[in-house]
Symmetry: C2
């Protein structure tokens, strides 16, 4: 039986809008970063039972289902791989969660919300705002809640609020075992200490093991006020000391974003000059967007800046309204794209090592790719850094540089600094090779056992996910890891 | 080969202090609550390799290892079961983590600590206090860090700080597969988003799957000040409305403990009269210990209490120094023991339903055990309630009442209120039957797969844990669930 006939059979079991085939699938095949993929079809189940029907169908049809939320992930996990001559013959089908639209059901007394996996963060927060509540995860994209579980979204305010995991109370999900079992841990209870949590295991799994259909999260109060400033630390160590000082004094810190000179210049290049806190002076080697959130934080911010200046941590500071302060920060990605070809690495190291790592990484880049510049920025408060290598005026990252550069920088991160090859973007075909290199035996063994139970045929998840289910070991069947070789991280900041 | 010979062989591979046999094992066999167990031996490995040696030995010797930290758990999971005629013949050996004493290594810049599993919470916090940091989990016992992972310790300040899971950055653990694999996810990185986390799966697992040897946690700043008061809400709904109000106004709430009249009377009965906030007047139907933590919280507390009174939420409030305010709260358990035989149920419901649940639960108790009284207290801010049924003057919970009462109350909790049969104590032989009744297929399937990979012979964990590894299904081999029938929760508050 051909795929067409199989899909007709599936459509008959679902509804007319549930199966998409042929033209018009570009939206589902084009990832936020990286090369376009090639879905053979898109299925869009509208409720839990339809998800079960789709999974059962895929088991029978020998198809791979790539779960996709808002398709805003940055590691390539939500679109099927591009067509390749050596690709396995299984049909690659996007399982879009966009019709899983239950809720949001907000409980203002419990401060919780329950939503379908396809509901967007902005939609949830619009509903929550009526109660002065929010899911306080702040990022450039507008992901779906299911996607946020799959990638464990962090964002700029993680220093205050933690990541998605920190807010997750429970999920409902559909496994791909022979009974198409439901993992039903959907609850809004905050105290529910009943043994190992599968909900927690699905966090960051990138769509492997089970398809998340519903999500319950804890909400927080919207702060009354935010106050922001750009400040210039006297040097790198002072940038770290300043955040330690702020925390030690109990300042209600909600963001601490450190931006290197080249990244700041890039952001300046695409914005109106009036927004520049430094009035067109040469970009400082490091500048910091600091934000406090709570009651009476404007006064508090001024006092903290004076104290940091008096203590010799900073040599300049400009208070700006939040919208203006953040606009410069948010233009960095666009600015870097305008500046040239960008190889972006999403890494972290222990906070105290950030400056030493920054210096060492620049040395590595200068050795491997002397023609490129480093434009770094990141959530230093949590140890995160987006290390971007930019070929100014270039259209593409030079192919002969990519592998060596990625290897050299990530070896420095992981080997010398005890850091992470994926600070916040998660694991997907773009960086699966580094998962393979760094993850230990015990973790692999456990995930194999889990995959054997929940997805023995390897139905769920991008084929490049190194820990997904299926009969063959990852190295033999996964184009992502096999092709990636030294890893092929997203080529954007 | 007999157990004695096997243990001699093990001792030769470890050291003289590592294997204990014969007399003097009471300390390891007596749980904090429930009937004494009967360890055939105690092994105390001193490092990761010794743990691996012990696990390999147990695989060969056919022994069951029951991991034990400070033995302060309340669900019976850290001591072997009492001897029973029908018990399986496998030797029951306590694996004590008390010699896993690495660290604490505190990093004040990163605000992290790495410790051996046998280090106590108090020891970690003593070390952290030198940097004005703490692991802000507050409870009556002094558990080991490994035990805290195994039970996901919550405590009285969970409303502000979350549970152990919220602070856990990584663990190292030893599995019981044929290679005795190490799960090595020990890291202090805060941004390390590299796929599914085994660390998170071991949280709350009660010693199944793998033996935790090392733990990395995030620390928080010690608040400058705490301010506490006892207040009297006008009624149950007002007790809930008051905590919602406090949160909505951004009060830095760090505890919200609601105590029923009989529990307050019990605490009064064992304390010095001077400490009583209500000066000997009849105990209010509900009273609340409220605590704020941060800067200038004394003034803030006074202002909040005035506001709550003006809004008609409370009819009385007494500000007391924290030590005095908490001393009454901390005497409840002792007070209940002094008052009679106690059947304790550790439950939660959505916060908005706490009062309705309390009323309904009292009705159920009055029907099933009209001779008993209900003495409840709990972390209402998080929806938690310790529902204690007290037979005043009794020595033992009447055997003919226990099963019916537990069933009736937990059916109310789970079925009618969507609540939890174990809000914070975790899962062990005391409540395993309710895990069996309430946990769904998908979760079971996944845990079976995990157990098959990590502990195929069923070496690790109390035999009464319903999700542990081993060839036979739980119902056939686990004395805890088989004997429990309707569950036999801890008989203390």
């Amino acid at each position: 039986v051909g795929l067409d006939a199989e899909l007709e059979r599936l459509a008959a079991d679902l509804d007319a809008a549930a199966v998409l085939r042929g033209g018009g699938l570009d939206r589902y095949g084009t990832p936020a970063r990286g090369a376009p993929g090639h879905p053979d079809a898109v299925v869009r189940p509208a409720d839990l039972e339809q998800v079960r029907t789709v999974v059962a169908w895929a088991r029978g049809a020998g198809a791979v289902l790539v779960p996709q939320g808002a398709n805003s992930g940055l590691v390539g996990a939500s679109t099927p791989p591009p067509r390749r001559p050596d690709r396995e013959a299984r049909p690659m089908v996007v399982l879009s969660t966009e019709r899983l639209r239950a809720g949001p059901v907000v409980d203002p007394v419990a401060r919780t919300a329950v939503v379908g996996a396809g509901v967007r963060l902005s939609e949830l927060n619009e509903e929550a705002a009526a109660h002065r509540l929010e899911l306080p995860i702040d990022l450039g994209a507008d992901p779906s809640l299911g996607g946020m579980v799959a990638t464990n979204t962090g964002g700029s305010r993680m220093i205050a609020h933690g990541d998605l995991r920190a807010h997750l109370l429970g999920v409902r999900a559909v496994a791909a075992d022979d009974r198409v079992s439901v993992v039903d841990e959907l609850t809004t209870l905050r105290k529910h200490n009943v043994g190992p949590s599968l909900t927690q295991l699905l966090v960051g799994a990138g769509g492997a093991f089970a398809v998340v259909t519903d999500v319950a999260v804890s909400l927080e109060r919207v702060p009354r006020e935010r106050a922001t400033a750009w400040m210039v630390p006297v040097d790198g160590p002072a940038a770290i000391a300043a955040v330690v000082d702020l925390e030690a004094r109990g300042a209600p810190l909600s963001a601490y974003e450190v931006v290197g000179a080249h990244a700041l210049e890039a952001a300046r290049g695409v914005g109106p000059p009036g927004a520049d806190p430094f009035g067109g002076a040469p970009a400082p080697e490091l500048s910091v967007l600091v934000e406090l959130s709570g009651d009476d934080v404007a006064e508090r911010l001024t006092a903290e800046l004076e104290r940091l200046a008096a203590d010799g941590r900073i040599r300049d500071a400009v208070v700006q309204p939040p919208t203006r302060a953040w606009s410069l920060r948010h233009r960095i990605t666009e600015g870097l794209r305008a500046r040239g070809a960008v190889l972006g690495l999403d890494v972290s190291v222990p906070r105290g090592s950030l400056d030493a790592f920054r210096v060492a990484a620049r040395r590595v880049v200068a050795r491997v790719a002397p023609e490129a510049e480093v434009a770094d920025f990141g959530h230093w408060g949590d140890g995160g850094m987006h290390l971007n290598v930019v070929w100014v005026g270039g259209d593409e990252v030079p192919a002969h540089r990519r592998a060596e550069l990625v290897d050299a920088v990530l070896a420095l991160v992981v080997g010398d600094f005890g850091g992470s090859f994926s600070a916040e973007h998660g694991v997907g075909p773009h960086n699966a090779a580094w998962w393979d290199r760094t993850v230990g035996d015990g973790t692999r063994l456990a995930l194999q056992g889990l995959a054997a139970a929940l997805d023995p045929l390897g139905v769920l998840g991008h084929p490049g996910l190194p820990y997904r289910g299926g009969p063959a070991p990852p190295a033999a069947t996964h184009p992502g890891t096999a092709a990636g070789g030294s890893g092929s991280p997203n080529n954007d900041p």
